[in-house]
């Protein structure tokens, strides 16, 4: 099992109270869990996800989560 810290941002916050909160949430996932599996686990519609950062780097949905990862998930966002 791997412990990961998950943060949901902007419009994705509504899908999971814990991960959508300021402190995010710690989730335990089995080995071989991909980011896209995490979306299913948390009930986030994948078509609303634009991208995820893992430990500050862009990662694709098929990235396999590792123990201690920090995952930030975003819908399309912009600013300036």
């Amino acid at each position: 099992m791997n412990k990961v810290q998950v943060y949901l941002y902007a419009t994705l916050r509504q899908f999971h109270a814990g991960a959508g909160s300021v402190n995010g949430t710690e989730i335990e996932v089995p080995d071989g869990t991909a980011i896209s599996d995490l979306y299913r686990l948390l009930g986030i519609p994948e078509d609303q996800v634009k991208q995820a950062f893992v430990n500050g780097r862009h990662k694709d949905p098929d990235y396999l989560l590792r123990d201690g990862d920090r995952v930030g998930v975003f819908p399309p966002i912009a600013g300036g």
């Binding site: 941002y9 902007a10 402190n23 500050g56 912009a78």
Partner: protein
Amino acid sequence: MRFLRVKMDELKVVTEEVPEQYRKLAGRGLTSRLILDEVPPTAHPLGPKAKLFIAPGALAGTSAPSSGRVSVGGKSPLTWGIKEANAGTPVAQSLGRLGIKALIVEGEPKDGKYYILKVTKDGTEFLPAGDLVGKGLYEAYGELKKSFPTAGFIACGPSAERKLATAGVCFNDTEGRPSRYAGRGGLGAVMAAKGLKFIVVDGTGTQPVAPANAELFHKGTEKLREAILTHGVTKPGGTLNSYGTAALINALNEAGGLPTRNFSSGRFEGAAKVSGEHLADVIHQRGGEGMTGHGCHPGCLIKCSNIYSKPDGKEHVSCVEYESDWALGPNCGIDDLDAIAEMIWQCNDLGIDTIELGVTIGVAMEAGLLKFGDAKGAVALFDEIRMGTALGHILGQGAAFTGRAFGVVRVPTVKGQGMPAYEPRAVKGIGMTYITSPMGADHTAGYSVAVEILSVGGKADPLAVEGKGALSKAFQETTAYIDTSGYCLFIAFPILDIASGFEGMIESVNAVLGTEFTGADVTKFGAEVLSWEREFNRLAGMTSAHNRPPEFMRYEKLPPHNNVYDVPDEELDKIAGA
């Protein structure tokens, strides 16, 4: 369309037909060309030979969506190079409807006094600024509103009267607040040096600008409208509309590129508390006069602005946007939105650029003047500026000046201008824009962050160097065109992803200016504007040594990615065409 040449030494306005070579220019393209043609590059920015140019974008005053932008140009007292800063405001639309291609302000009043210039469809008039001089802009705008209820206002604040290089040029928003700034580069001080305190612009009795080719205009604006209304970030209820630009706080924090405590870390432990998400929650919880989804001018479809309220629901300030939030927040180690809102209010009232002052306070904290995170101490610094103390004058001259005054080495500036809210060591492409832009460190000059962080218009690893030179260059060129068009730069997000939106933008501009641009001409035009700007800087004495990062970024590793700024000098020279 005509030029109004405002001769402050004679208190006279001369109406000029627009010479042929300027007819197809507007906004930034026009101000930059006029600066190169009319301002001696070695002139003192606050001296008698300096000039101030105010030019609405090509589409300002038409019915095109999100097109109420106006450019202000001159020689910058902050960078001592060329400067264009722009704002979204109903005043831009009024200037367009009045048929004014540019206001050219020159000379200085012989009596050393401040004046108001009134511009209506019937002509122009000078009035003494009287006791509006020295007043904060909220009070001054209130009084102007009483005297000119149907007008909009261009102003410089008390900071500009003190000739501070952080002073911006202020415009009103939809409801008349002094809150929309052509903020960067100290152009407010240039306006004050001309003895011009306010320009009252009244578009009453004018009609929307009729495009030369109405059919093409309609076709183009419809395509663009469609793109804006469907793209995830600009559509109603999209992130810009729901959270404002401050939605970027969490994104940059996740990416490790949120400059924290004067550019000493890329992550801020208090980020969530100043994020766009939290900001929207606070506004909605407090109810009352606060709102998200506010438009800076009528006709904006995106509406990224907001009104932040006090705990009792009364209005505090508009608007808390990403750059201001970051500059006065994470950059100073401050995680208190109410304190940040108060500092933005102070900046608006004094007529100060929030980015430059936030970066300056960060440097002052580095110098030990106060501690990082000391929100109360930071708010108190505004009294120094307001009272015009010696310390207030030092801070008011910006980050580079303050750094020198206190012997600070970690000073995040390029060409003397403070860096905005993206860490170059964590987002390499935007660093190239900061470093090579003729404007000094300016994120809007070539927003490669779209690709590097937001994955809009493509996707790239923010830490990678390869390919970023071309990316920054293309963004800088396209931006010079958009800044000329009068469209808000935020239309770039939908048009980067939706090809028909990009076409629509070009068609609508062609329809108004009578140009026949294709997609390829956009970057060509932008490159030409940049070449004028670089030429002015060269003649003003800038060399390739000015296209370099602050030295500390070359050797200090930035957590969490522990990168230095490793873009080679040769690459920077290539982008700058040196």
